[in-house]
Symmetry: C2
Subunit: 428 residues, 2 copies
């Protein structure tokens, strides 16, 4: 049987895993798709580099265009990353009728619409399971498993670096800076950790999940983002005392076809399935109108887990190839896009305030909440020996983001409030 020829763009961590699976599991794979799968061309940065896998020198090239223009190549597997020239590679490959498997969340979050439109025009497949939550098949689950349902809420721990940091801070009482350094030393965080710790990576993944879950065109600019660099040990301790863990959660909600989407450090109740997802693991919690609560858990990154998703997509492309149906099952968002305004987004809030330690302060603060009709779930005032100010911890009931913003602006103007030390969303 004629082999299917795969062109690989990139031979870093994930690319190496892809080669390892294609070599190691070849018999299983060809039994499923009905023909051998051959890596016929690989674009690398450095063709001289010593590698942990056995790959013939003559298939390597330092010019990605060679892979894309190779008429023999049926499918392009893009695991090089980047959004500039990489997008050009992908569009040109589609132009030439090649199918695409990519692990590139940045590309799909920023240019997914354009790429999928080109794919549809050319009747090509574009699959990207590995772009979100590594080895967890969450994209298939949203497209196929829940095709029958209306997704109401998606909450995701979709960034392993931040989950590792927050887990360590919670379990060991370590400081953010210390754990970040440790994560960098272990290779769990990059030298410049901004994209992870400021929530940008998670935002890209949430835009992809939101688009699939709500079947509308959720864009990266729709995601309101804040990161974990301000989270302190003290915040985590207060959260625990109230029965919560702090996680960087992507939260996408949709009611009456209007959606909201955000990424932020969030207090999640300890009994919620997401609260016990620890270390570099990822999990996506999906609440469907019919199916109710579900959760999907697994490794969010790493050579072999991510490669599992890439190769599963490759198997799907090849099965479609054999049936002659590539590009015909494309999921195009079909709903009109309606992003909720801040007046329409409601959630509970956790606030830690540093205030003047004198009579009447609490009364003035609660008065502000009352003015904007934000009702309170719990209020705790305490002296802190390490702090000349008093500390007030407040958990609100559901309040609109707009009302909370007004409350916070008023707080800024109040002399008795020294500082809004922390402000987090609360879930579960």
């Amino acid at each position: 049987m004629k082999p299917v020829k795969v062109g690989l763009l990139g031979l870093g961590t994930v690319g190496t895993g892809v080669v390892r699976i294609l070599q190691g599991f070849q018999e299983d794979l060809s039994s499923q798709v009905g023909s051998p799968i051959e890596i016929s061309r690989v674009a690398v940065k450095n063709s001289e580099k010593t590698r942990s896998i056995d790959i013939a020198r003559e298939v390597l090239t330092t010019d990605p265009w060679e892979v894309i223009r190779d008429p023999e190549v049926d499918v392009i597997v893009e695991v090089m990353g980047g959004v500039g020239i990489t997008k050009d590679y992908i569009l040109e490959a589609l132009e030439r009728g090649k199918h695409i498997v990519t692990a590139n969340k940045d590309l799909m979050a920023l240019h997914g619409t354009e790429i999928l439109a080109k794919a549809q025009e050319k009747q090509c497949d574009v699959f990207y399971e590995a772009s979100v939550a590594g080895g967890i098949p969450i994209i298939r689950t949203l497209i196929e498993g829940f095709s029958s349902d209306r997704i109401v809420k998606i909450m995701g721990i979709v960034n392993g670096t931040t989950n590792y940091i927050l887990t360590k801070m919670s379990q060991e009482g370590a400081s953010y800076d210390d754990v970040l350094q440790e994560a960098q030393a272990l290779g769990y965080a990059e030298a410049d950790p901004t994209s992870d710790v400021e929530g940008l990576d998670a935002a890209r993944k949430m835009a992809i999940l939101g688009t699939l879950g709500f079947r509308t065109n959720v864009e990266l600019t729709d995601v309101s983002v804040s990161g974990i660099s301000g989270v302190t040990r003290q915040d985590i301790q207060f959260a625990k005392r109230l029965g919560y863990e702090i996680k960087l959660l992507g939260i996408a909600e949709c009611h009456n076809e209007e959606f909201s989407i955000s990424v932020q450090p969030t207090l999640i109740r300890a009994s919620h399935p997401l609260a016990s997802v620890s270390g570099v693991f990822n999990a996506v919690y999906v609440f469907g109108e019919a199916v109710g609560e579900t959760m999907f858990y697994g490794a969010g990154a790493g050579e072999m887990p991510t490669a599992t998703s890439v190769v599963a997509d490759l198997v799907a492309v090849i099965k479609n190839l054999k049936l002659g149906v590539n590009g015909l099952k494309q999921i195009v968002p079909y709903k009109q896009k309606k992003l909720k305004s801040d007046e329409q987004v409601f959630y509970k809030n956790f606030l830690l305030l540093h205030v003047d330690d004198k009579a009447g302060v609490l009364a003035r603060i609660t008065q502000v909440f009352a003015e904007y009709e934000v009702s309170l779930d719990s209020v705790l005032q305490q002296a802190n020996p390490a702090n000349p100010d008093a500390e007030i911890i407040i958990v609100t009931h559901n309040a609109s983001k707009a009302s909370m913003d007004k409350v916070l602006r008023r707080f800024e103007e109040m002399d008795v409030i020294r500082r809004v030390k922390s402000h987090y969303r609360v879930e579960g």
Copy 2:
């Protein structure tokens, strides 16, 4: 656009959910498949019954053959249950070129091979996502999500009734009999609970998961089964003291293409993701050679969750119908079947022994373990004021099932051992 016509066999809990979704989400569904979906014929037991859904009286019939023989019907959705006549209905429907969506685990576990062979012959789809773990899309995940991996281990909490009973016993210290009665009153357990509590229901689901995970023909008779009716409050307390919960786990393992499969009450370490799956929820833990640890969690039964899976399968059938590829993506087990012998199955064991309270007993017991080369992880001897005997709790290291059987047979012959009170597998 011409509607796709669906014939429904059964209008009980799941059937009602299917109608509810098809009616309530019609616009979403037809946007995805490109045409309306119409329930054109429904076989019911009693056509006079008052129902909570709005369904035209003239589509109802008490004769399932009318649905199957209706030339207008494209797809049969079987949610009536049973394995005798139901199998004949399905085979006849396939003979007539109709595609099948079924929620029937008994049918698939017992006659799946025959039904899938007929489907292949007739180029028809047979989908059965709802047969295992209700709303969790675990069958798709094994077939598609992990097509690229070799599954090493599947552990499933796939029976909600027994998980509800064990959760209540663990959380409230209640007795098995009391919780079973409560579960029956709540409708979580049937009047005759045998199939659930003795593990037979779970065994059927595990046979289906094993077949898909290991790509070989796992049969129901391959599953060694024991149920939870012997689990006591004391067992659960001892387990907790050692850091475990007791769950009814289906466990399927595969190494070097040789597999073992079983269902039994199992001590699972409290930190394992399965340990916190409580109440009627289901979860399937899948460990793949490449992907590592994953877990899929959700409602295992109930009208709407199960109907979600049924309708997702229906969407898949209709998409295939539009593309003309029904029956062409059938997954046929392609590996030679090799079931492990008892000598090849290894796990840890928990034992609670009632023994004569006199000197030298422990030495004699540990001597028996040594004789069969079963090494021990921990041993705890204690007096129980309520019991004239002494209690010995033993946790072994990994030992073959064959060796453990020999140890247990020797214990039966020993005068000093009054009773092997409990014997459970240990995981995690």
